[in-house]
């Protein structure tokens, strides 16, 4: 069966979703989702181990060899992203139980888990596939379920947020389809490996340039690259806590993965960076995103929204890593995929704990929480420190590589900007810390106590991971470095 692991990675959640939907009780659906997420996590780890020892895995679906059929192709980068996505899934699902019961109508809970597992399916499908059209199909699975999940938020603005996301996401998807079509008409192929060979033979021409542009814009919409990020803050703010934690930690990461695939694997470094001069466009955008979005985050009164803006800024870091177009920068970008998933996962989960007890994540609602919910707020502080990039946390590791990459290119102002943005992170994280620890809560509201262990344990698992992979980053850096080298076309 191990030969079939690549497809099982996607099929198991795909089969679990209808089961969840048919379950009569929320807890049964949850059980299925839990089993699914842990199984997929296990598979992802197996796959990563296999890719590390044996090199890329190819799997021909339906027995039709590429390019006639659809190929699943897992290299180091995709295996790494698989581990990120499933790992977050495996942590978020246990967390979901209580949080979802609090925030979602009981009758809808089985469907909620169905959508949740479908979202996981879509994200995994995007990551393993080696076929560009298949990317689109699974992108839509993950997107549609994400729209529905976001629309479940308690505030009515969740609905408009979901709609806004749906419109912008669909524009993005349609742009991607246009781009794929143009590539197809020039080459006759949909297989990524095949395309990269054919495109290299073809050389740059106007159609390919435009295809490249449309794919870039389409994917950028999905990953909320500044200034196409407008859907993101509302979506993250008003979605249910579990959904925010999951989507913030995975969906944009997979979009960045898509970007890497298209830029590096399909179009190739030479075309993307030498011909298209992509770095000249991406770098300023990334820097603007980092600085302005960090600034905007400072002025938010809703902590989830603040973290959402911070996410847009952090996406800027990843794009910065890509636009450095060097092994070091790319390593930093890929590392930040992993690290930011851990950081934002733990932060949003801590906010979910607050939501569970307090019912609001406005900054005013956090007064005195440092005493009332010490573990929750400690988790928030720990995640915040990681976001800031304090040494021995994962945030530090990715910043290290990004700054190193910038210095290698001799762009010291870029390095300075990265650091300046870290300081802005200090400001917005510290606003919460001050309110939570130095202001007294309103009256003696004894109903607010520490969040239940079912929420705290998963949160702290992620917090722990924040420190573990910050203290011993040799594994992640090694994988990310090897992935970066192979993307750059160097022998790993």
């Amino acid at each position: 069966m191990t030969a079939h692991l690549p497809v099982l990675q996607v099929i198991i959640p795909l089969l679990a979703a209808p089961l969840c939907a048919l379950a009569r009780r929320g807890r049964i659906a949850w059980g299925i989702a839990l089993a699914t997420s842990w199984t997929t996590f296990w598979i992802a780890i197996q796959l990563l181990a296999r890719v590390r020892s044996e090199g890329p895995i190819s799997y021909a679906l339906g027995g039709w060899a590429a390019p006639v059929g659809i190929e699943y192709r897992i290299d180091l980068l995709s295996a790494f992203v698989l581990v990120i996505v499933t790992g977050i899934g495996a942590v978020v699902t246990p967390y979901a139980l209580k949080s979802v019961e609090r925030e979602i109508e009981a009758a809808k809970i089985p469907l909620f888990y169905a959508a949740f597992v479908l979202c996981l399916t879509g994200l995994l499908g995007i990551t393993v596939t080696g076929d560009v059209f298949n990317v689109f199909v699974f992108l839509e699975i993950s997107s549609l379920s994400a729209y529905a999940l976001i629309g479940l938020g308690q505030d009515r603005r969740a609905l408009t947020a979901a709609f806004q996301y749906l419109i912008m996401g669909s524009i993005g998807a349609t742009f991607i389809v246009i781009g794929i079509g143009m590539m197809y008409v020039m080459t006759g192929s949909l297989n990524m490996a095949d395309l990269s060979v054919l495109l290299a033979e073809l050389g740059p021409n106007r159609t390919i340039v435009v295809a490249f542009g449309f794919l870039t814009v389409g994917i950028s919409l999905k990953l909320a690259l500044f200034p196409l990020h407008l859907w993101l803050p509302n979506a993250y703010t008003y979605a249910p806590s579990t959904v925010t934690a999951f989507i913030a930690a995975t969906a944009t990461k997979v979009a960045v993965y898509m970007l890497l695939r298209f830029f590096f694997t399909i179009f190739g470094v030479v075309f993307s960076f030498d011909v298209m001069q992509l770095d000249r466009v991406l770098l300023p955008l990334a820097l603007i995103a980092i600085v302005t979005m960090s600034l905007v985050a400072i002025f938010q009164t809703n902590v989830k929204r603040m973290l959402a803006y911070s996410s847009v800024a952090q996406i800027g870091y990843m794009i910065l890593g890509i636009s450095l177009a060097s092994v070091t920068g790319l390593t930093g970008g890929i590392l930040h995929l992993f690290n930011h998933a851990l950081i934002k996962g733990s932060l949003f989960m801590a906010m979910g704990c607050v939501m569970y007890r307090v019912g609001s994540v406005e900054i005013d609602a956090m007064r005195g929480l440092g005493k009332k919910m010490p573990w929750t707020m400690a988790a928030f502080v720990a995640g915040g420190l990681s976001l800031i990039g304090v040494p021995l946390t994962v945030g530090f590791i990715s910043k290290w590589y990004l700054i190193l990459g910038a210095l290698e290119r001799g762009w010291w102002p870029v390095a300075a900007l990265i650091l300046a943005a870290s300081l802005m992170a200090v400001v917005y994280i510290w606003r919460v810390v001050e309110v939570a620890y130095f202001q007294e809560g309103p009256g003696e509201d004894s109903s607010i106590v520490e969040a239940p262990l079912a929420l705290l344990i998963p949160t702290w698992v992620l917090v722990f991971a924040n420190f573990y992979f910050g203290i011993d980053a040799t594994f992640t850096t090694e994988v990310a470095g090897a992935a970066a080298r192979s993307l750059m076309g160097l022998v790993p």
Binding site: G389, P391, L392, W400, L404, L407, L423, F438, G470, T474
Partner: protein
């Protein structure tokens, strides 16, 4: 226990102590005893490291590799040992003092206070024994974060504001400059290890390295070189033992220690002397020395005056490092110890006055010397050391610093040192003079409530005062250690 392992234990021990303190939170006596015992054991451990150093050993304790080539590792070397000895010894005294102070002042959240105090010491040990720049930076930041709750201990709006300034300046300088400098160093040299003779020689042009030096000096925000000194007076809202810790032991000394260490082991004295920015920075330090002293003059609040005095004194050490010669380094290193003992005595005394007489302002301390003779006596000794006159230890370090300026051919800097000493003579001695020789003010209702401070406070103060004197009489071991640094 091998010396290498001792390094690790020295870093971990205060953390264990912090946990014990937290666990014993409900029993104050046991808790405070645990704190003092931990401090004692720590000092004993550090003391055991003197022998290996004398024997020429430089044990290393690699903890783990964080990134390929960048590891968390500890290494014993003389400069770090000096700092560790000072810090661990003064922790015993401060712990003792804090017990009396915190109880006498009826402070809240004492358990939290002592726990973070211990964590800060752990950070100081980590910095002292850091084997490379990364380790140093990690512990440097850890200290910032662990002392933040101490600064904002009272939780008042004023404390919060101070905390913001504190964190803001320390983090911006460390993340904005120091981290950049460290990554840059890594990029240039391919290593972050502290090595004799430095690692940067020949890696880049004079101009680049000059910029790097500037980043390092200003990046050590804890050294309070102007214009990044604002956090230090702001942090005065903290309880006095914190001020003592901040201004004499952990935080500020970490800053200057970093600069010394970077000068010696990253740049190397030889390279440092050739850089264009070295003298420029030395003059920045000199300016800080003079301005700090002048501002101290204008402060009536005793703790504020001491804070500015500290700013001024710290730049002595920075200056010593930047003189880029043996005498300067020796003087700077010795001044770490001398100033630590002197200044902590002054703060202890200031805290005692606050606890017992509830006076903060110098202008209201007339006549207190008669009721609190030991306190003001200790203050006098501390002041002598800061001024740099015999029979206090400060005389030695200032002597070597003065020699350093001459060796560097900078008579101007020598003049700065002289002037600053004169200024400190006036602004520090004003306090005991008023206390002993002036009559109490008319409106002060003295007599009934005021008495000498609680015994732990007094004992602590006397110990540091005596140590200050002892350092004048026996500077040999200290000099020997510092001499090893430069040779």
């Amino acid at each position: 226990m091998s010396p290498a392992l001792t390094l690790g234990v020295a870093v971990v021990l205060p953390i264990v102590g912090a946990l014990i303190i937290l666990a014993l939170g409900k029993w104050p006596n046991a808790r405070d005893a645990a704190g003092i015992i931990t401090a004692g054991v720590l000092f004993a451990l550090v003391l055991r490291l003197v022998e290996p150093i004398r024997a020429g050993l430089r044990p290393e304790y690699p903890v783990l590799e964080v990134l390929p080539g960048v590891s968390l590792s500890l290494k014993l070397e003389p400069l770090g040992l000096v700092f560790a000895l000072v810090a661990s010894f003064l922790w015993i005294v401060t712990a003792l003092y804090s017990v009396g102070y915190m109880r006498g002042h009826h402070e809240k959240n004492q358990t939290r206070f002592f726990a973070f105090f211990a964590l800060a010491i752990s950070g100081a040990m980590g910095v002292a024994f850091a084997g490379n720049l990364f380790t140093l930076f990690a512990f440097y930041e850890a200290i910032t974060l662990c002392t933040f709750p101490l600064v904002t201990h009272h939780g008042t709006p004023e404390a919060k504001r101070a905390g913001r300034v504190y964190l803001g300046i320390l983090l911006s300088t460390s993340i904005g400059f120091q981290l950049l400098a460290i990554i840059w160093t890594w990029q240039l040299a391919g290593t972050l290890d502290f090595r004799d003779g430095g690692i940067l020689a020949g890696t880049a042009s004079n101009g680049v390295l000059s910029v790097l030096l500037i980043l390092f000096v200003f990046g050590a925000g804890k050294a309070a070189v102007m214009p990044f000194h604002r956090w230090l007076p702001a942090a005065m809202v903290a309880p006095t033992p914190v001020s003592a810790l901040l201004h004499a032991v952990a935080v500020v000394k970490v800053g200057v220690f970093t600069i010394l260490k970077v000068s010696v082991y990253v740049f190397g004295v030889d390279l440092l002397g050739t850089l264009a920015s070295t003298m420029w920075l030395a003059w920045v330090a000199a300016t800080t020395i003079i301005l700090g002293s002048l501002v101290a003059f204008t402060k009536d609040n005793l703790k504020a005056r001491l804070a500015y005095s500290t700013i001024s004194q710290l730049s002595y050490i920075v200056l010593g490092a930047l003189l880029a010669n043996e005498m300067g380094i020796i003087g700077g290193g010795m001044h770490i110890a001398m100033h630590a003992f002197g200044k902590i005595t002054l703060f202890f005394a200031a805290g005692a006055v606050l606890v017992c007489a509830h006076e903060k302002d110098i202008s209201r301390m007339h006549g207190l010397g008669r009721t609190m003779p030991i306190t003001f006596g200790a203050f006098f000794v501390g002041a002598l050391s800061i001024i740099g006159v015999p029979p206090a230890g400060g005389a030695w370090s200032k002597w070597f610093l003065g020699m350093g300026t001459l060796e560097a051919g900078q008579v101007g800097l020598l003049v700065v040192l002289m002037v600053s000493s004169l200024l400190s003579l006036v602004y520090l001695l004003e306090v005991p003079v008023r206390a002993f020789f002036s009559a109490p003010p008319e409106d002060a209702h003295r007599g009934d409530g005021i008495h000498e401070a609680p015994w732990p406070v007094l004992v602590a103060m006397v110990i540091t005062a005596v140590a200050t004197l002892a350092l004048f009489l026996y500077p040999g071991p200290l000099y020997e250690l510092m001499n090893m640094v430069v040779n």
